[in-house]
């Protein structure tokens, strides 16, 4: 059933018209989970600045997964740190709408993202995962990320502190 034609998804670069749906997916995680450390939901308008960081070329991309004509997930490569020597490091994010989890959509999104970035001047990929999150740790490990450490109780949300695992994948030289 999971592999039936109705479950197939397609991946494409995000368009401006996706912003409301991307905000809706993100807000689910803002409101209900510690997955993101944002604590207040966004309006699509407030999220426009974030959206403007991405392009269809270069290091910073935003891809969406569509199923039945509806966006059900997205992945992005973003600036990791404002200082210029960090330009060659990008931070990855992948989020699926709750009803779209378990269909391998995150995996398809990451496959497409890594393919899109293959020719870019990127040396390291970084992902920060609020723990516990077995699904997210597993997908990152499947794509060759290694956990380099855990920032204990690095964030406070819903009245408690959460650990953050730092994952990294190095693009081998040569």
């Amino acid at each position: 059933m999971l592999d039936g034609p109705s479950a197939t998804s397609s991946i494409r670069p995000a368009r401006a018209g996706d912003l409301a749906r991307l905000t809706e997916i993100y807000n689910h995680y803002v409101i209900n989970t510690p997955t993101t450390f944002d604590t207040e939901p966004f309006t699509a308008e407030q999220r426009a600045e974030w959206f403007s960081h991405y392009a269809t070329t270069g290091r910073h991309r935003l891809l969406v997964a569509e199923r039945h004509g509806e966006v059900v997930g997205y992945t992005s490569s973003s600036r990791f740190h404002p200082r210029a020597a960090y330009d060659t490091t990008v931070e990855l994010t992948v989020l699926c709408a709750p009803e779209a989890i378990g269909y391998g959509i995150g995996q398809k999104l990451y496959e497409a993202l890594f393919a899109a970035l293959a020719a870019e001047d990127i040396h390291a990929f970084v992902a920060l995962i609020t723990l516990p999150n077995k699904g997210s740790c597993a997908i990152h490990e499947r794509f060759g990320f290694r956990q380099m450490g855990i920032l204990r109780e690095g964030g406070r949300k819903f009245g408690q502190y959460w650990d953050v695992a730092y994952y990294q994948k190095l693009v081998r030289e040569g």
Binding site: F80, H81, A85, T89, A124, M148, R156, Y161, Y166, Q168
Partner: protein, 170 residues
């Protein structure tokens, strides 16, 4: 044996210190991988950075001075922008090259952690471009423990640099 050293005084930074702070910082921008800025900053460019600090709250900026000469500075600042990270601050410390090896960093950090002791801060973190034995030793002396090493995350002077991340429970 040691020459008597003039006493070092620690105080909150004022706007008048900013040009000297920028001068100290730019030494590290230009000559070292310690900071991942690549281009020297101007005082005007550094003003928004300065404005994040106050004499109360989580984000402080202290300077060490010897008579009237600022020798170094230390600060606590925002670690990441998302709100749940507010209880984690990043610490930074720089001493003028001619003032290293005099214990100025230790006095600065002692004053900084004393200043924030009553604030709603749960963790301090520091990122150190490796190798930097002096900075690692200073942080470990104040109780920082290693989180891990991000390999090759910065490119400066034509090569990639590792960054060791350290955390301190407060």
């Amino acid at each position: 044996m040691d020459e008597p050293k003039p006493p070092v005084r620690i105080r909150p930074a004022t706007l008048d210190d900013l040009s000297r702070i920028v001068e100290i910082y730019n030494h590290y921008v230009i000559h070292t991988p310690i900071t991942f800025d690549l281009e020297p900053v101007t005082v005007a460019e550094r003003r928004p950075w300065f404005d994040q600090f106050a004499d109360g709250g989580r984000h402080r900026l202290l300077v060490a001075e010897d008579r009237s000469n600022v020798l170094g500075y230390a600060c606590t600042h925002q670690f990441r922008t998302k709100a749940a990270y507010d209880t984690t601050v990043e610490t930074t410390i720089y001493c003028a090259p001619e003032a290293t090896g005099r214990g100025v960093g230790t006095v600065l950090y002692a004053a900084l952690f004393d200043a924030i002791a009553a604030e709603d801060i749960h963790r301090a973190v520091a990122g150190i471009t490796l190798p930097n034995d002096a900075s690692v030793a200073l942080h470990e002396r104040f109780g920082f423990a290693p989180i891990g090493v991000f390999h090759g995350v910065g490119r400066k002077f034509g090569q990639y640099w590792d960054v060791g991340w350290y955390e301190l429970a407060l």
